[in-house]
């Protein structure tokens, strides 16, 4: 891969065509193209409209509970015996993860656009729950596409979505995971173009979604940056987040991209190891390709057929990644490293025991990397880990992994 020249700023993308270098773009069927152009137009107007900003800020504050706290994880810090570890507590948001940040922004956009129906895809169910939540709050019918495998392993979230009035449609194609759910959501959208708003849950898909979702999630990094300066009087040495599609990660990373001394690390799902096919480390083991409206790193075979991948965490179980991450990888600004299922599981248990916080398995991947590097760092150094969601939804999976019945 040719390494692009280092830009003056890493925060100016995408260009007008929706490209981050060679990544991103608008690889969609013609039927959807006018819709995507309309969305881009409406988004450009909304983001500069003080009324839109004010409404989003009010909802974020009083409905979602922002700002989320930046918490000094004293127990984990003591246990690891190195740098100070802080958690950005996205798990404390309404609905239990960072997903609400994006859903509130997009539902306000859907309202502005006069749409009548919301569709969404979901992996772990966190985005499905957040979508069902905002649909309930704003009175929209909502259909959530979810892979049949994920429906089985995330049953508490499926029930939550149903309680919230959403219809959950299980998708049996492929391995029945996030990729297949996204295919089916796109098929719904291309059929119901008149009245339907597609609420994409991650910073991927055709332009303008990667940019728009990033902007809605950047509240994470903007807050964290101000909070660490307030609490420690300086910027962190390292920031870490898990990357599935990559929305919580880009949300944390983006405000720090031009802080040259901050080391930024994204964690991919290493599954059962990168030697086989049972992982979702698209940036470590994949190559650039085109899927779901954008060019990005993908797990695929020599014929360009997309592989299914595997992760213990349904939220990371996706063979691609948001295009901006692919660009940040190639430009060298962000390091992307894999964490195995077992390592994430151990970090999940450790955090529960020493912090009294049950993290989502996705977030446990990020913590697992902190567990590796923090002991080798100086005590006056600072690491921020994005605790993107709470782990209540994962207790069945974890029990299963540990050979217990609940």
């Amino acid at each position: 891969m040719n390494k692009p020249a280092t830009p003056n700023s890493f925060r100016t993308g995408p260009d007008e065509q929706g490209m981050f270098g060679i990544f991103g773009g608008r690889f969609v069927a013609e039927t959807l193209m006018p819709l995507i152009l309309d969305l881009e137009d409406q988004w450009n107007k909304a983001k500069n409209d003080p009324e839109f900003k004010a409404e989003l800020t009010a909802l974020s504050t009083y409905y979602a509970g922002r700002p989320s706290k930046l918490y000094f994880a004293e127990g984990l810090t003591r246990h690891l015996g190195g740098a100070k570890v802080y958690f950005k507590r996205e798990d404390l948001n309404h609905t239990g993860s960072h997903k609400i940040n994006n859903c509130l922004g997009q539902i306000l956009l859907a309202k502005r656009m006069g749409k009548k129906r919301i569709i969404a895809e979901t992996g772990a169910g966190q985005h499905g729950v957040a979508s069902a939540t905002v649909a309930a709050r704003f009175g929209y019918p909502c259909v959530v596409y979810m892979g049949a495998t994920d429906v089985a392993r995330q049953s508490p979230n499926v029930f939550r979505m149903k309680l919230l009035g959403a219809e959950v449609r299980p998708v049996t194609a492929g391995h029945g995971t996030l990729k297949d759910a996204m295919n089916e959501a796109l098929r719904d959208w291309v059929t119901n173009v008149e009245d339907t708003y597609y609420l994409i849950g991650t910073a991927a898909g055709p332009h303008p979604y990667p940019e728009m979702v990033r902007d809605f999630q950047s509240v994470i990094g903007s807050e964290a940056r101000a909070q660490i300066v307030e609490q420690e009087g300086r910027l962190p040495d390292v920031i870490i987040a898990a990357v599935g599609g990559g929305s919580n990660a880009i949300g944390l990373f983006h405000p720090f991209l031009d802080d040259k001394d901050v080391r930024i690390i994204g964690i991919e799902a290493g599954g059962r190891g990168l030697d086989g096919v049972e992982h979702c480390a698209s940036m470590n083991a994949g190559r650039p390709g085109v899927l779901h409206g954008n060019r990005t790193y993908l797990l695929q075979n020599a014929d360009g057929q997309i592989l299914d991948g595997h992760s213990i965490s349904a939220g990371l179980d996706y063979p691609g990644v948001g295009p901006e991450h692919s660009w940040l990888r190639d430009s060298g600004r962000v390091e992307y490293v894999p964490i195995l299922d077992d390592e994430a599981l151990a970090a999940f248990q450790l955090t529960t025991r020493v912090e009294g916080i049950i993290p989502a398995l996705e977030s446990a991947h990020a913590i697992a990397h902190a567990v590796k590097i923090v002991p080798k760092m100086d005590k006056d150094q600072i690491v921020i880990v994005n605790l993107s969601g709470r782990g209540d939804k994962d207790v069945h999976t974890v029990a299963n992994m540990l050979g217990m019945e609940i």
Partner: protein, 279 residues
Amino acid sequence: MTTRIDRRMAKLKAEGRPALVTYIMGGDPDYDTSLSIMKALPISGSDIIELGMPFSDPMADGPAIQAAGLRALKGGQTLARTLKMASEFRAGDDETPIVLMGYYNPIYIYGVDRFLADAKASGIDGLIVVDLPPEMDEELCIPALKAGVNFIRLATPTTDDKRLPKVLENTSGFVYYVSMTGITGSALADTAKVSAAVKRIKGHTELPVCVGFGVKTAEQARVIGASADGVVVGTAIVNAVANVLGPKGEKTADPAEAVATLVSGLAQGVRSARLAAAE
């Protein structure tokens, strides 16, 4: 530069009838069977062949074509084998136009320049790539046109008059009008609306306009063919293959024969289209 598509369309125009464009999934259910189906198409009255390139994630396709693609991939089909199939067909038929239809990623991974060279050498006349709108023309459309391969664009009910010129700009061979907003294999849209849309597109281009998505029967082919320059049938043909496969994929009858029977009926439909319209 004229292609087999241009020549075939000119010939049919002179005959005063629309084209029957038939879609099959390359390699479904296996290479040899699929090649025999392909060879049966022109004999049964197909004027243009759309050869599907299987893809793991066909976002614009309904269950029938999704399943056909998976059968083909399971049978070992690759883009290289689809090109080989075309060239084997071409050895016995140098007239019938072949249009490759599918998604961009397998082509991107194969390499655009290498793909165009190999496609040209295999006797491919045109490309329909679902996930490459005009905004992405630099990727494949422009290189294809330079290589002398037609790039056939989809126009849809959401393509309004303002956008239509952009969609038509680099289109060649014919325009593929998607009869409805939806995926392949859905119910046919209101035929009066389709006719009006065809007329609207013809106001913007000299190119032939073929209509697809939802055409399953000879009667539908006849009605659509009254106003369009061609009628595309895909899902019905793919289903004809699926219907003669047992639960384990074993053949319970000859798929080529099943397809031939269906296509012969469709061919009668398009051949009577203008007569019926004139009545």
